[in-house]
Amino acid sequence: MAAEGQTIDALSQFELTPVLGKVGASVGFTQSAAHMLLAAVLITALVMYGMSKRAVVPGRLQALTESAYEFVQNLVVGQVGEEGKRFFPFVFTLFMFVLFGNMLGMLPYAFTYTSHIAVTFTLAAIVFVLITVVALVLHGKKFFGYFFPEGAPIWLAPIIIPVEIVSYLSRPISLSIRLFANMVAGHVMLKVFATFVVLLGGLGAIGPFVAALPLAVNIALVGFELLVAFLQAYVFAILTSIYLHDAVHLH
């Protein structure tokens, strides 16, 4: 897309580039991995430092940590039930990792690792493997009864079973694409409108006035994207919990 010598380049922001010089390049340590590491460190720091005082009446940071903890715990226990408590650390890690990935991506110059289908699909695949293994371990062969609901007429089996299998297999795909698409769409829009600001700003005397319009849109978009960033992390976590519920209870 070329416009007057300048281009609207909305996609190069997703390109992977190695960081940390030669060492980073040799181990494929990209800015994406660097942001993952940053997110992991921030999450760990938040929890460890936030709880370091072990105050009975929490301060701000401790209150933040505790509310995140209780938020995810209520989510998991609400969906899976009391048995879900052993999956809580996993869902918490997942929720925080996605949330921090989304939120870090909102900072200028930052990279959004959740805008990579490879990342979101890997996370979804971990969830998929986990729920399948949990279901098999807890229910053994009975797990396959999941694909044919009890009480359904037997002659419907040829239709129901493929449908159920396809819907089960499509879980990681829908889970990963939802997050990936939301993040990509948001960042592309931000980039496009930001480029409009630059392009329109260069249109002589009226430029700055016209450029105010896409700028206003971008400001609104930032707020909207912050909402989406939280919402998508929540959706990822709650869908994981729902799948875990199915794995634990088989319907």
């Binding site: 997703f14 993952m36 490879a118």
Partner: protein, 183 residues
């Protein structure tokens, strides 16, 4: 779209790094960080429960003390009222007794006085009869020159019986009348 460029070796590296970092984060959180949060929350829950229980115990105690206090007040009031009633009754009975005693003394004095009066009257009556008889006798003697004492006394008795007993002042009249009858 760079995300779909799966031929890029950095893509594989990204997935490997994701697995490493995510696994590391999961390990740190599940082994160290989250139990810490849980322990703090648990501590708070225990503390709140303990505090609530202590507060409840204190309330029970206060209620018991309040009840005891109320009972003591009620008992004290009842005792005081009983004491007042007792004192009142005692005072009344004492007053009654004094009144009775006084009444009895007065009645006795009245009785004594009446007895004295009766005795005096009887004495006076006796004297009257004698005086009248003597006077009548002497009158009869003066008038007739003879003395009939028995007849005079009968006449005096008759007059006295007719006129009433207690009129000493009229002894003379009696005597005169008695004498007149005899004469």
């Amino acid at each position: 779209m760079p995300q779909l460029d799966f031929g890029n070796p950095l893509m594989i590296a990204q997935i490997i790094w994701l697995l490493i970092i995510f696994g590391f984060l999961y390990f740190v959180l599940s082994a160290h960080a989250l139990p810490r949060v849980e322990s703090v929350l648990e501590e708070r829950r225990t503390r709140i429960t303990a505090d609530l229980e202590a507060a409840r115990a204190a309330k029970t105690e206060a209620d018991a003390a309040m009840t005891a206090h109320r009972e003591a007040t009620a008992r004290a009031r009842a005792e005081a009222q009983a004491a007042i009633a007792n004192a009142l009754q005692q005072a009344q009975s004492e007053a009654q007794a004094r009144t009775d005693e006084l009444n009895a003394r007065l009645a006795k004095q009245i009785e004594d006085a009446e007895a004295r009066i009766a005795a005096a009257r009887d004495a006076a009556m006796g004297a009257l009869r004698q005086v009248a008889a003597e006077t009548a006798d002497s009158l009869v003697v003066k008038l007739t020159g003879r003395s009939d004492r028995a007849a005079v006394e009968r006449a005096v008795d008759k007059v006295l019986g007719a006129r009433g007993a207690d009129e000493a002042v009229r002894a003379r009249t009696v005597a005169a009348a008695s004498a007149a009858r005899l004469v």
